[in-house]
Symmetry: C2
Subunit: 397 residues, 2 copies
């Protein structure tokens, strides 16, 4: 497998574009359209928040068919907490796109991100979709990735190429992240495509596995969105015999998909609102994988620790404290902690490390924190960032 230049339109048979429809008052791009030449096998994962946006409710319903041909999405308005009107608007977005594309609106998935509680400006959405249809392009992935950005500071795309049954296969995709990112996804919209031919239930299973290992292991601020959506369309253009069991081909696809979603997940952490540090947090030696994941999330959610990381202060006590409050099984006298290769805690107490050596790591823009609980064999890896003045500044409104 190798990474290649590009994004979702690196997959053949996929057209995309992003346009400015006027939903964003700034005039920035805010409407995304992704279209597959033929009906594709589709799978999706959605927010586990009990408050779900209208487009999430509509797409969750439609994904059950396992078939889709287009995705229409907007930034600038979440269409969440908008009641019956919101549901009508989400369905209408799909209907407008379906009509313009001359396909069934049941084959159009919908997603939104932005402020909660405002009804959609449907006149702008309608003209935006019409404009987008007129601009659809086999090289439009970049424009689409731009148009789903909200407080993101850079666009996030990935494309990989790999061999399956001697055929060249591809996965391409885009994501938006930035704030409100945490366990079980966030306002995180991710649209992926692949030319691999694969059974729908295996596509769904692979997507869920890849999301669990990647997007669900990103923590910016501990908040979880009402709008999180990950969608993949598989059009079979690679020409492989359909993957319909857990064989080597499935594993090749799963690895490529996990690589792709992990790459996008790391970009989300790097672009955390106000973030100045990108941290890979590794938990080792936990009793269970669940414990490893829970403790990783608890540590990365601590505002106290995140402020200390922003301040480049080796305040490992805040790691110990978060670990202990996470509720996992642990022995405080067994814990080891490293900053990159510098061991700072052994068996729950300081190693007497030099503060200067710790600061040498902490002043880097990217580093690893490793925690060995030494009571089991389960591991987890999570990507997170610090909490800076700018996070507050970005989120005061």
């Amino acid at each position: 497998m190798k990474e290649i230049e590009g994004g979702i339109t690196s997959v053949s048979g996929i057209r995309a574009t992003g346009v400015a429809s006027g939903i964003k008052a700034t005039g920035a791009k805010d409407l995304v359209l992704i279209v597959c030449d033929e009906i594709a096998t589709s799978a999706g994962t959605f927010t586990s928040n009990k408050v779900k946006s209208a487009p999430v409710l509509v797409s969750m319903e439609r994904i059950k068919s396992g078939k889709a041909q287009a995705v229409v999405a907007n930034s600038g308005n979440a269409n969440a907490c908008t009641g019956e009107q919101g549901l009508n608007d989400a369905r209408r977005m799909a209907e407008i796109a379906g009509n313009e594309l001359k396909i069934s609106s049941e084959l159009v998935l919908v997603a939104s991100t932005g402020k909660i509680g405002r009804t959609m400006p449907m006149d702008k959405v309608e003209s935006g979709i019409k404009l987008a249809v007129s601009q659809l392009s086999y090289t439009g992935g970049h424009e689409a990735a731009q148009a789903i950005m909200t407080t993101d500071t850079f666009q996030k795309e990935v494309a990989v190429e790999f061999d399956i049954q001697g055929k060249k296969a591809h996965i391409g995709g885009m994501v938006k992240g930035a704030g409100m990112i945490n366990p079980n996804m966030a306002t995180m919209l991710c649209f992926m495509a692949t030319d691999v031919s694969i059974d729908q239930s295996l596509l769904q299973e692979a997507l869920k596995t890849a999301v669990d290992r990647s997007f669900n292991m990103v923590c910016i601020d501990g908040d979880m969105s009402t709008n999180d959506t990950v969608i993949i369309l598989a059009n079979g253009k690679a020409g492989n015999d359909k993957i319909n069991q857990h064989n080597d081909d499935y594993n090749i696809f799963l690895d490529a998909l996990t690589y792709s979603t992990t790459k996008l997940a790391k970009m989300i952490a790097k672009d955390g609102e106000g973030a100045t540090k990108f941290i890979e947090l590794q938990i080792k030696g936990a009793k269970t994988e669940q414990d490893a994941r829970i403790s990783a999330h608890a540590i990365s959610r601590s505002p106290l620790l995140k402020c200390a990381l922003f301040g480049e202060d080796p305040n490992w006590g805040r790691i110990m404290s978060s670990l202990g409050s996470s509720g996992i099984e642990m022995d405080q006298n067994a814990v080891d902690i490293w900053l990159d290769d510098l061991k700072i805690v052994e068996n729950g107490v300081t190693t007497g490390f030099k503060e200067e050596s710790a600061k040498d790591v902490l002043k880097k823009a990217e580093y690893n924190i490793t925690i060995d609980l030494k009571i089991g064999n389960a591991n987890a890896t999570l990507w997170t960032c610090d909490l800076s003045y700018d996070y507050v500044k970005i989120n005061v409104v």
Copy 2:
């Protein structure tokens, strides 16, 4: 019951003081001593963090006897994650105090707050305790309350007087709070005394109930400390017949105790690190009391919402989002939300309230947010604050 001027030494037979021992480099007061003339019935609640400081481990062990005569505590060093040495130091603190006071060191409880991971400067602790013993006073409550402060900006004391069996009874106490405050307590040290005569197991039960309704319903930042300690000493000087069942006298005492701890808890929220707003959050109509408490904590822990409150922005979508991600039973189409008396959400969607009216509430230094889930009869009240630039500034080291 009425509130009176004073603090812990408003209870007769209680001496206290606070001195500067040099643990804090600033030269501020950092050592507290509280002594009861006779052996008192004692009860305590401690952090549920699995990483516990040495003094917490020592005091948890000693409180089992139900008897205590003194509390020695320090700020400036948490004596947490300090291994065997830390345990020895915590026991030694009690031993020094016991020797100086000429009482058994088993009757001395210990508490610490400050930075995690550093061993105690025992020479300073020893001379500090000796100085404190020489300064003990029946009016020394204020000095003691000053000496347990860390990032607190004001000292936090309470004293109440109430009638029990025709006798005048009292409760007095002090607390420190500020940062690292959340569910199940925080680095929160609270020392209380009462002259009520009460059975030890009922004292423990009353304390636990009062703490659950007060300190455990304060949320500053979602972090939980390794050092949280609440201790109460009951010396029986009020002269009432010992309370040894759940009768009216017990309820009078419980009400007075809950009033006192609630008063202190609210002071903690008002003095949250960097806080500019004090918010009483009321959850109504939840299916269970646990759901009400869980959702109150989830909402008050949201950095996104807390930043919006700092910015005085009526971003109720962040309330809905936190509510939905808390995992409680709910119907997003049933939720009502008020800012003071202004209803801003009805049945999950905006009431179309005037933004100006909402801002009139949000710009106040203190206000209420009320959420009615309308699916049950359980309620909870929590006190919280906003997240400001200053929170980050205070916590970068």
